[in-house]
């Protein structure tokens, strides 16, 4: 049976990359008595799948993973037991049993909400005007030498945006498309801002929510 787990990734662990975070969760599960299910075969692994990778340096208030259990466990106990072994910064905030639809959790990811905090001399209207452009282009650098860099328009992936001043800094609230197709990486918004000659001294990014398609 599948338990869908809501978790947070805070400041203390924001530089833990996606693969490292996945490994941390599996190791922590092994430190508990939670009845996890293993894959069959010679190299048994805990059956766990994550919703959407989070960029290195990005915090998250609400993310998901699905975990297969071999027997049902009380949800409160599950949450408490896993929280007791997680490193500071990772926290389980809820869980529920879901029907095993055989669909990957990743395929259910539809939209996400982010908050970007900018340390910049640019003003709210400047940033707002930049976001209101009809197209926002950004250059995706080639990963390999033989590839060429690519121009990507971020605008269609931004569903809604709001800019305001908060504690002397500029906060951008973004509601974006997310998932395996049309995923907006908020770090690319920072890169696009920098490309357009807006000077950003420092920034923070938080994923405020990940929105899943409701399963039938």
């Amino acid at each position: 049976m599948i338990i869908r787990v809501k978790y947070q990734k805070k400041e203390e662990v924001k530089y833990v990359g996606h693969l490292d975070a996945m490994r941390t969760f599996t190791r922590c599960l092994k430190r508990t008595n939670i009845p996890v299910e293993y894959t069959k075969g010679f190299n048994p692994r805990i059956q766990i799948s994550f919703a959407l990778p989070l960029g290195v340096g990005v915090t998250s208030d609400l993310d998901y993973f699905d975990l297969a259990l071999s027997e049902k466990m009380n949800i409160e106990m599950f949450v408490a037991e896993l929280n007791s072994v997680l490193p500071v910064g990772f926290k389980i905030v809820g869980a529920e049993y879901v029907e095993d639809t055989k669909k990957s959790l990743m395929s259910l990811v539809k939209e996400a909400k982010y908050k970007l905090i900018l340390d910049t001399k640019a003003s709210v209207p400047e940033i707002d005007a930049w976001l209101k452009q009809s197209e926002i282009w950004f250059t995706k650098e080639a990963k390999e030498k033989h590839q060429s860099s690519e121009q990507i328009n971020l605008k269609p992936m931004i569903l809604d945006d709001k800019v305001m001043e908060e504690n002397g800094k500029i906060a951008i609230y973004l509601h974006t498309t997310a998932g395996s197709a049309n995923n907006l990486n908020p770090q690319n918004v920072i890169k696009a801002l920098k490309e357009s000659k807006i000077v950003i001294e420092d920034y923070e990014i938080n994923r405020e929510e990940l929105i899943l398609t409701k399963t039938a």
Binding site: E12, V13, V16, T24, R27, K30, G57, V85, E201, D202
Partner: protein, 613 residues
């Protein structure tokens, strides 16, 4: 700080916060120790000694040990530009604010990193420039047995196993702190602890030809000879059960269970084989209990049994079988990195590697029986070939062979022996019926360059010069022509540097300082090692490096490390050297005691009944 982390590769190297990291309230702490590993996080976090000492110190309520690693060059540049001092991972405290800054010396080529880390931490690099407010800089680990090349930078060294002596040092420190005595007084107090070496209390006098005339003790607190510390009964030790599990994929990313210390074999080139004597084992009951709690506390899915020559553990196969049975239901694998390959160990490896068969490794070290007798490597060609035959029949097809070139008395016949052995292994493979063997044989021959090390039977030997080593490598390149055989070698320059520093004396301190000043760091990383800069540094400081690396040292000379006692006597090493030159082998400790001197410790293999192994 956060701004810097956004700009570097692998910021997680600098943030800490891993599973089982020790957190303490600073107001209860009387003694803060910055445990410094002079290489990057991934290397340092693979090191068992760090985990043992971290655990040991942090079990004390009044002491807090935190970790510090060498920042990678991208981070270092940003730290220097932004005036950020080198800090600990646990509390991000600059190392200059600690009571002790403790380095572990695993490798000679990390010495420039030590200087660099001190400098980056705002601590004067030379001991003589440190004042009352600076931390005490200490060092331990295998390279400490010849402390002289870095004696100018370290306030005191600890010889031998650290579990007891480091606690004694903390206790002396707390007394000293309470009495508000000057810095010098602490060094005098600590010098009286067995195993502690305070270099400033010793003076080296030289003959005109540069050899050492005398080692003088300058302070009555200092012992004329400093004896290494050992733990008599390993079962009495606490062992880290709650050790830190890195987020990053580190070099050895698994639980490690140390099953014994020392080695019975007595290979004459091997420093570890002498300095860790006598062999002492942990009991199987203790090991099984520890294994279980380490796995429970870390969530690792692999546990490796660590020691030198693992299968020399008494009743090793019983232990291994018990551990496999214990861990199978928990889906935890056993890894056995240092096994002598024979038919029994093959059966075990077959069991633990039930799917993919990783390569089998042999370390004959030398190509002919004659030279193997010289180095006392009790591994015969027949052993290797018959093990290979059995392995090929069980489905292995990857064989790795480790050799050393430039060993004392080596001739081209011995090098030809390397070629012949590799070819014979290929022949053995093709003699196994096709249907019994796995396709695609690969035999890798790796040849490292012999480095003479202090406290070995070869400590008096000179190393080949670079030209000679290159010619020998060329010979192997030219003659290892079989398609199934791959040849690996290293540029000899780094091995030459290792020999110079390993056998160096106090006169090298200035050269190391000069090399660091001219930009040398991360010397063990090929992309940073600058042989030319090192040679320039030697020239500038008036040092002939070949004096240390290539010279055949007289048996009657005073050696720079003669004031350190590893329990194995110099007389014994001389005897072993002479036996080597005659090609006479010496039995392993279990077969027959060779009288090395380590029995004075009063424990371990020296007091076992003999005749079984």
């Amino acid at each position: 700080m956060d701004k810097l982390l956004k700009q570097v590769e692998k910021p997680i190297r600098y943030t800490g916060g891993e599973i089982n990291m020790c957190r303490k309230k600073l107001e209860h702490i009387q003694c803060r120790i910055a445990f410094c590993f002079p290489d990057v996080y991934e290397i340092g976090m693979s090191h068992l000694g760090l985990k043992i000492l971290y655990d040991l110190y942090n079990r004390r309520q009044d002491t807090y040990c935190e970790r510090v690693f060498a920042p990678w060059v991208d981070m270092e540049d940003l730290m220097r530009q932004n005036h950020v001092k080198l800090f600990s991972l646990e509390t991000k405290t600059p190392i200059s604010e600690f009571d002790f800054v403790a380095f572990t010396l695993q490798y000679e080529m990390s010495y420039t990193n030590i200087l660099n880390m001190l400098d980056l931490g705002g601590i004067p690099v030379k001991s003589c420039d440190r004042g009352e407010k600076d931390p005490f800089v200490m060092a331990g680990g295998p390279c400490s047995y010849n402390p002289e090349p870095i004696a100018d930078f370290i306030d005191f060294f600890v010889m031998g196993e650290g579990e007891e002596v480091n606690i004694e040092i903390v206790e002396v420190y707390l007394q000293w702190k309470k009495q508000k005595l000057p810095r010098e007084a602490f060094l005098e107090m600590v010098a009286q602890i067995e195993g502690v070496y305070v270099p400033k209390f010793y003076e080296y006098l030289y003959h005109e030809d540069g050899t050492i005339k005398e080692i003088k003790t300058l302070n009555s607190a200092a012992k004329p000879v400093v004896k290494k510390r050992i733990i008599k009964d390993l079962d009495t030790l606490t062992y880290p059960e709650k050790w830190i599990v890195p987020f990053l994929n580190v070099v050895h990313d698994r639980a490690m269970l140390e099953i014994f210390r020392g080695c019975i074999r007595g290979c004459r080139f091997c420093q570890a084989g002498y300095i860790y004597r006598p062999v002492r084992e942990k009991s199987p009951e203790k090991l099984k209990k520890l294994a279980e709690s380490i796995i429970q506390n870390t969530g690792y899915d692999e546990i490796s049994l660590t020691s030198l020559s693992t299968s020399d553990y008494t009743n090793f196969y019983n232990l291994a079988d018990d551990l496999i049975a214990k861990f199978k239901p928990k889906k935890v694998n056993l890894s056995l990195p240092s096994l002598r390959i024979d038919s029994i160990s093959l059966k075990l490896l077959d069991e633990v590697n039930n799917v993919r068969k990783s390569g089998l490794t042999f370390a004959p070290e030398a190509g002919t029986q004659r030279l193997r007798d010289v180095i006392n490597k009790g591994l015969t060609e027949e052993d290797i070939l018959s093990a290979c035959d059995k392995a090929f029949r069980k489905g292995w097809n990857v064989i790795k062979l480790y050799f050393m070139i430039g060993l004392p008395t080596e001739t081209y016949e011995d090098l030809q022996g390397i070629v012949d052995l590799a070819n014979k292994i290929v022949d053995v493979y093709y003699q196994v019926p096709k249907e019994e063997r796995t396709r695609g044989l690969s035999v890798t021959v790796s040849a490292s360059t012999f480095v003479p090390k202090p406290f070995t039977a070869f400590q008096w030997c000179g190393q080949n010069d670079i030209e000679t080593i290159k010619q020998k490598q060329d010979f192997l390149k030219k003659n290892l022509t079989n398609r199934a055989v791959k040849f690996n070698w290293h540029e000899p320059e780094i091995s030459v540097m290792e020999a110079i520093i390993a056998k160096g004396d106090r006169r090298l301190c200035e050269s190391i300082y000069e090399a660091w000043k001219s930009g040398c760091k991360f010397d063990s990383w090929g992309e940073f090692f600058r042989y030319d800069k090192w040679m320039e540094a030697f020239q500038k400081t008036g040092i002939d490096p070949t004096y240390y690396s290539q010279r055949q040292v007289g048996l009657e000379e005073t050696l720079a490390w003669d004031n350190i006692d590893i329990l194995v006597t110099k007389e014994f090493l001389k005897k072993e050297y002479q036996r080597a030159m005659e090609g006479v082998v010496t039995s392993n400790c279990r077969k027959q005691c060779a009288g090395c001197g380590a029995a004075v410790a009063g424990c371990g293999v020296c007091f076992e009944k003999r005749g079984e192994a």
